[in-house]
């Protein structure tokens, strides 16, 4: 399971980086989206995956059994929610930029450098 997830994380990262390097701003945003999901999975994976053992402790149990670590799941949940907020803002920014400038091309962004 870990191996599968690790490969998936790698694929997502490479897809994300590929999209980041495109000229279109929309593709850039999609790239960031891929990267953020890859990172979420990475956090989830790094703490170790435990199969079929949710983090509940039976009532009256003296000692907790081996359960999945709930903390990385909580971290991922928080990160996903923050990511959603960011994505909404980013898309709004992109839309506004398209309205003002009529372009979706990152190369058109150059003139601020002068």
């Amino acid at each position: 399971m870990e191996i599968m997830l690790a490969i998936l994380v790698g694929v997502l990262y490479s897809t994300g980086v590929y999209m980041l390097l495109r000229r279109s701003i929309v593709k850039f945003i999609i790239g960031i989206l891929f990267l953020s999901n890859a990172t979420n999975l990475l956090v989830f994976l790094a703490a170790g995956v435990t199969r079929g053992q949710p983090a509940f402790i039976k009532k009256g149990a003296e000692q907790a059994e081996l359960v999945a670590d709930p903390l990385p799941q909580a971290l991922v949940l928080t990160a996903v929610v923050i990511g959603l907020g960011i994505l909404a803002f980013v898309l709004a920014l992109k839309y506004k930029f398209f309205q003002v400038s009529g372009t979706d091309d990152l190369d058109q962004l150059k003139p601020t450098e002068e």
Binding site: I25, I32, T39, V43, L45, F97, T112
Partner: protein, 495 residues
Amino acid sequence: MFVVALPILVPLALMLLLIIIPAPVFSRWTAILGSLGLLFLSLYLLILLQDDPVLVLQAGGWKAPYGISLVIDYMSALMLSVSALLMLSVSVYAMNFLRGESYAQLFYIFFFSLAMGINGAFITGDVFNLYVWFKVMLLSSFVLISLGCSKEQLRGGIKYMGLNLIGSLFFLAGIGLLYGKTGTLNMAHLAKILIDDEQSILMNSSAMFFFLAFGIKAAVFPLFFWLPSSYHTPNITITSLFAGLLTKVGVYAMIRFFTLFFVQDQDFWHHLLLIVAGLTMVIGGMAASTFYETRRILSYHIISQIGYMVMGLGIYTPLGIAGALYFTVHNMIAKTNTFLVSGLISKVKGSYQLKEVGGLYRQYPLLAVLFILPAFALAGVPPLSGFFGKFMLIKAGIDASRYGITAVAILTGLLTLYSMIKIWNEAFLKRPVNKDQKLKGRLSFSDIFPSVLLGLASILMGLFAAPVFKFVMAAANSLLDPSLYIESVLKGFLP
């Protein structure tokens, strides 16, 4: 210690208040009085620290490694006070510079949410919580930087946003790996586990992720491109706010992480930090000298100065860290002040282009005085604050026999001096471009007051360097020997 959470809760409450009551005059005064309140609050925290050098609040009553710890030590309290001082001056400055702008109300709301993010980042004692505060800060700054919705600002906003989002992804990936290896995200607990850790080399992957994340936020050498391409676009009030506060949060986090728990493999890290510091100084300084637009010169100059702070961290002696802290405080004050003055110049002359202004020394001597204070402070002229910061760093460099970086630091001082003299010559000494050029506007009290306040702070930091030095030395010593920090947060918890 409930008071520990107040620097986060006060801006939150004020932000909500401003959302509920959207009246221009009300929000203007709320911003000023609120920042004043934050300043007094942080001074009060400084006084509390005299008795107890580490103030801790376990949020929600959860014990240390399980809940979120909020911790204030010398460094946090110092950064809190300076950022409150900057917020106070910017909020006064905003009175006239944002008057009549359609987005003034939004500015004040996000002003406080930015303050909440920054204060949270300074206070928190938990790595993931720091990530959340970073995001609060980033999101507020995304909104602030694109507030005017002009083409230029949106362009700058997209660049700023893109690179900073990538930085925060590095941050999150670092958190994942760190948690996987240590099983904790509480900074004190991490320090306890990692200080006598044997497999130090394994920590480098997480440390590198964090270094990249904070490096992007602090705008160090290969990662600074977002800063100069976005900082000159928004309203000068917003630029001044960002110039003093945002990059320094990255520096703060870097100092915190690399003194508290990423203390393995020191040879590699300190060399890396010093190389990055040297390149940041030189490249920022050289780039600054090629421009003729005040905001651009100053933006590149921010980058150059970040190098000095990283240099102090890389030297890693008590004097080096103390120098970095002193320099950070000095730089936050002086840098914001130069941006404020560049706004004043543009208000009087109607332009940020140095080619189009001139003769201000004769036309507006007061403005010349206001400019010369922060400019000389940045260049490191003795009675002002910058001299002592550079002196400490250079002395630390020589003591630790890091001669290369010390030489670079001294030479970069010349580049700084050059870009300040360029602004001085072009804007103040040069003859006015058109003989009969009239001044575009007069400055009122609320325009000048923030700059006077920060200028005085620069002078006082220089005149009373001894007590400030004592304080930053105490802060540096407590950073390099975190046993008290660990003990106060964990309260005897054994891993």
